[in-house]
């Protein structure tokens, strides 16, 4: 019985992992995106949180997404709908660079 409930639990966990999209956070901190490279699945959401004292953006270099200005303490969410590799930067501080890999 114990074994069965563990099995059921594992199956349930497996189902919820595939059914529910995961959410990921990228912080803008110290004029850098952390993590710099993020791997997500199609359907997942990515939230950029600005922990710096100046505004930033998360702007894909190939126009896939653009947060526009995210004020200090602000955040912006993007849903990954298409697989691919998305390089992005802060449009205000172009030496801040990051990558989202959507699988």
């Amino acid at each position: 019985m114990l074994r069965l409930s563990i099995l059921v639990g594992a199956v349930a966990a497996g189902c919820s992992a595939t059914a529910l999209a995961a959410s990921h956070t990228v912080t803008m901190d110290g004029f850098a995106f952390k993590p710099q490279t993020l791997e997500v699945k199609v359907g997942d959401t990515v939230e950029w949180v600005n922990r710096d004292i100046l505004p930033h953006t998360a702007t894909a270099t190939a126009n896939a997404f653009d947060s526009k200005t995210i004020q200090p303490g602000g955040k912006w969410t993007w849903t990954a709908r298409t697989a691919g590799q998305y390089a992005y930067e802060c449009a205000l501080h172009p030496n801040m660079k990051g990558v989202v890999q959507v699988k």
């Binding site: 004029f31 710096d52 004292i53 100046l54 505004p55 205000l92």
Partner: protein
């Protein structure tokens, strides 16, 4: 070394030297921070109107935005802490360096203007970073003032990288 970099070097020396002579107090540090930002805002305002290079203009506008943002926070913190920023030789040296820079930039135009502006931005941001690391951050007594400067530091690193990148593309 041209006259401009010499002025910046003198300012950097004055900033670094301040710690040996007498560590600045928090009121003086606050004044240095505000002056350093204002100097770069003024240069940015000139460059954003006078430069015809869109990358230089974009950089100048970002300098105005970022250094204004830092100054708003520095001023808000000084008000909160009831600290009246106090003028001092380091601030005076920075202000004079900024004035000399504007005077020189006013005599130039076109590519010569862009080069002089960007060269000075590289030297200026390097000088301020040195001052933050060697004098301003170590000397600050108030933790919030220290924390603000630590938080501001990456902005100067980012600006320095941006200015260096711009410097490498000019004249090509």
């Amino acid at each position: 070394m041209n006259k401009l970099s010499f002025t910046v070097a003198v300012a950097a020396f004055a900033l670094a030297g301040a710690v040996h002579a007498q560590a600045p107090n928090d009121a003086q540090i606050a004044h240095v921070v505000v002056t350093a930002n204002q100097v770069d805002i003024d240069a940015g305002k000139l460059a954003s109107t006078k430069s015809t290079n869109k990358d230089v203009q974009a950089f100048a506008k970002q300098m105005i935005a970022d250094h204004s943002g830092v100054n708003q926070q520095a001023t808000a913190l000084a008000t909160k802490l009831k600290v009246t920023p106090q003028d001092n030789p380091t601030s005076q040296s920075l202000a004079k360096g900024g004035k000399d820079n504007i005077a020189k930039l006013n005599t130039l135009s076109g590519a010569a203007f862009d080069k002089a502006y960007v060269d000075h931005e590289v030297d200026y941001h390097q000088a301020v970073l040195d001052a933050l690391d060697k004098t301003l951050i170590p000397s600050a007594k108030n933790e919030e003032l220290k924390a603000l400067m630590v938080k501001v530091r990456p902005a100067f690193v980012s600006h320095l990288d941006h200015a260096k990148h711009l410097q490498s593309t000019l004249g090509k």
